[in-house]
């Protein structure tokens, strides 16, 4: 019979425990760190515009209408604002952030050295998120923000981009995920062998040869932690499927 304590030493149990701990830590992240920008309440949003390679990002406000981009190619963003006559804005920083699981995985800033309050202006920003280009693909939310000199957010806009990995598949994360799924499917397909664990060994029939007195101990199913790939038909499970 497998030792109950040995379950806690198994890699699968450790993985599940790590996932729960990580989930608990992520839930406890304070709200400001999660990056949920909002527009300034006293500023009409139409006076601030952001374009991505010439296209207005306001048309990509949902995941279904995301801009199709390639993170290996340079993106040219243009932050512009045009306020009515008496109003001015001291924009000192134009910022784009890409979010994944609520956290900014890529950030790009264009900081003005001598910001002057102006009624209108533009800030060009070139961005090539090459650090995540070969790591991730898929749909991501991006936030474009106008930051004032005092650090407050004058305006921000959320939009979505859909990144296609180079050659369609050359990204590390989806490849790793496919490998994990294949490994676990293999382990799931072989999980029937675990049904033999914990069962008493078969009693020899009347026609079978009786065991010799003083012989070795009867064969018992091995523990799951010590079963190897070369498991025999006696019920030892494969080691596949552990993660």
């Amino acid at each position: 019979m497998p030792n109950r304590r040995s379950r806690f030493r198994q890699p699968r149990f450790t993985l599940v425990a790590a996932v729960f701990v990580l989930t608990a830590l992520l839930v406890n992240v304070p709200a400001p760190a999660r990056g949920s920008p909002s527009a300034a309440s006293n500023t009409p949003p139409a006076q601030y515009t952001v374009t991505w390679n010439g296209g207005d990002v306001s048309s990509a406000g949902s995941a279904s209408s995301a801009l199709v981009v390639d993170f290996t190619q340079q993106a040219n963003l243009l932050f512009s604002w045009n306020l009515t006559s008496p109003n001015t804005a001291d924009v000192s920083d134009a910022r784009v952030q890409m979010y994944y699981f609520g956290f900014a995985v890529a950030t790009r800033d264009q900081i003005l050295t001598n910001p002057v309050p102006r009624g209108s202006g533009t800030i060009p920003l070139s961005w090539t998120p090459l650090s995540v280009a070969y790591l991730l693909e898929g749909v991501y939310r991006i936030t474009a923000s106008f930051i004032a000199a005092n650090g407050s957010t004058l305006f921000s806009e959320n939009f979505y981009v859909r990144d296609n990995a180079p050659f369609g598949v050359v990204a590390i994360l989806p490849i790793v995920l496919i490998v994990i799924v294949l490994y676990e499917v293999y382990g799931l397909a072989r999980s029937g062998r675990y049904a033999m664990l914990g069962r008493a060994p078969k009693v020899a029939g009347p026609g079978a040869e009786p065991p010799k007195s003083g012989g070795g101990p009867t064969e018992t199913p091995p523990e799951t932690g010590t079963a190897g790939e070369g498991a025999t038909e006696s019920g030892a499970p494969p080691s596949g499927g552990s993660s």
Partner: protein, 75 residues
Amino acid sequence: MSAASHGAACGVVIGIVLVIFLQQVSYLDLSDLVPALIDLVIGGVVGGVLGALIGWVLGRSYLARHSASAATQSK
């Protein structure tokens, strides 16, 4: 560890990984934390239940096959 629990463990991992993979192929949006965690939990639970069922069925099939072969050998 029984066949059902082993299948459930495999199913939980497959469910969670599939949710992340669906985001990578642009079927899901995991940009926000709480909805993403909800999707992961749903994927893990569904995968675990399905994996437990599959493991249970495979375990019964394995026992049936091996008990039949053992009975054949004893004759």
